[in-house]
Amino acid sequence: MMKNEHTLADPFNEKVEKDLLAHLTSNRRKGRIFVFVLIAIILVGLFAYYRQLRYGLIVTAMRDYTSWGVYIANFVFLVAISLVGSLFSSILKLSKATWSTPLTRISEIIAIAAIMCASIIIIVDMGRPDRFFNVLIHGRIQSPIIWDVIIITTYLTISLLLLYISLIPDLAICRDKVKNVAKWKRWVYKVFSINWHGTPEQYKILHKISFTLSVMVIPVAFAIHTVTSWLFSTTWRPGWDSTNLGPYFVSGALMAGAAVIIVAMYFIRIALNLKEYLNDKLFDHMGKLLVMLSLVYLYFNINEYLGPAFKMVGVEGEHIIELFFGKYAGMYWMVQIFGLILPIVVMIFKWGRRPLPMLVLSFMILLGAWFKRFLIVIPSLQHPYLPIQDVDESYRHYIPTWEEWAITCASFAAVLLIITFLIRLFPVIPIWELKEEKESNSKPNQK
């Protein structure tokens, strides 16, 4: 049987395998505590959801006007960060940005975790989740909500395929090299490595389908966030009646996705001792990428607000005043300044692209991105085109209840738990791709 060069003994290959497989067999106390904390948060969220099921959506602060609350803001945020998968597995890969190779699997894992929890949070938002299947059975394809259901399923499937395809050779390495693990893990490695022996034919097929999916994921990823933006732009509310909303959402999602990768990189390189692979140079690259994506988002931000703010027409004007000077002004300007402008300015400088500043700035961007979704959803809903008359006082304001916060926090904990589980199960950096890169880099030298 013809073996591929990758499997041949090589000091580099041996070191890479040793470094990147090490965490699969370790079981650190800190890791267990982290998982315990996440499960505790999820349990609190489940209790809050039990109360919501028991007493209905009345336990939330959502009422007739603000009918989409923090759940939908969170859903949009999670969909946004799921776009990171396409950024690394497709856009950077197709543009031959080889520096991003160590980040592809992290991005795919984050994408899957985020999109799974986004799907769950949308069901949480339903008053009668037991009727969810009616959406599938009786759904009208004219409805953007059905488009969202379709595209989320499509994106989740392609994300799973992308993760799995790139995992096959590494699963075979795990099958052959990782012995001191639980039986079920060995079973996973054996079954899912599907008789991979690294033959040229297998590599040929792998590259072919990997390329196919890399191309295919771009329109699907753009569609998922564009369709999410259409949920808003096809609804009759001030602030949403914008043709800019699709690219605005996509650019914001790419920025949030890059920020979440940086945060993940920082903690993974410490927790798994991978500073050699997730090095400072990678942070520098990510910083430059994040500046570029943030500038694009800033451009769309200006587009989004300049027109309505210039004209100040009717309820659109009231909405702008509410954001710029009203009760949401504090949050709005914090988001714009600390979640967008300040990170851009700092990351322009080389010292701002070092790991720790990048971590802080990325957190700021992520917080800004979450609150930006809050600002997109809530103030618009509080300005219906019909005048508010003789309504209950609770209709006029929206302050999420503890149940909403608990469920929202649980969704974040669930994202982190899925990421943690997948990271502990699989090599977090694609071993075979690093080997391939090393070989392709060394070949010209050999000549």
Binding site: I141, Q142, I150, I158, I165, I194, E201, I205, K208, M216
Partner: protein
Amino acid sequence: MNNLFKYILFGFMALIFATGDISAQGKKTTRLQVEYYKNHDKMEMLIATLIAKERRYVPLAGAMIRFYSVNDTSKALLEELVTNDEGKVVLKINDNSKIFYDPSGIMTFEVEYGGNSSYKSVQRQISVKRANLDVFFFQKDSIKSIEVNASEIGPDNLITPIQGLHVRFYIKGTFSLLDIGKEKTDQYGNARIDFPVYMPGDTAGVIKIVVKIEDDDDYGTIESRGEINWGIPVKVIKKERRGLGDTDAPLWMVYTLIILLSAVWFHYLYVIYMIIKIKLAR
């Protein structure tokens, strides 16, 4: 001084107990509203509404109401009817009803609620003259008008025009009446207003006109109707068989979605097929 205080206190307490005793035994006040109504089919009826004072006046359902026709010397029971949930009861007066008329043609009805252990009895009398209201449509040159003739029916079915009667004109809408004017009848019993030619009718331009004298002291409420095709014909917008607001989506949308999803999901299936090929590859 002490005695005076005792007497005042005693008197005050006696008043409280006495009042309590009275209120416990007292019956609740009732009210009866009676209306004479003649509809566009010339059906005459008496509509009685019984209300009782609880915290506020509320309809009294299930109460027996007796209707009598009376004159100076006689009183004949017409019918006994039970009030509905709205406290209402309708007596239809037909040819077999034994109605007394006075020499000037006035009918007098007595409507009575006998009361019970909880509610006081109440009765009302109502006197009306019989009258007719007829609608006609006229066109002179380009002017179109609606005319109403109001006439009184005397003791020997003698018809005489009613002068000075306020008549209201309406267009019958789907859910309510649209007020288009009011006019007083002349010496011939006629009242006329211009026809609202600017109003939309049905697909043939037909407009239904309703004329009424309302709660008149002498004649009660009388209604009459007429219809004519002088309105603007309304074009019926053909309902799209498939549209964004329909149950079925527009075909272009269905085809677009099928093509796009098929393209994407075909590639997924292709990838799965290739994964199987990887498994089988040597």
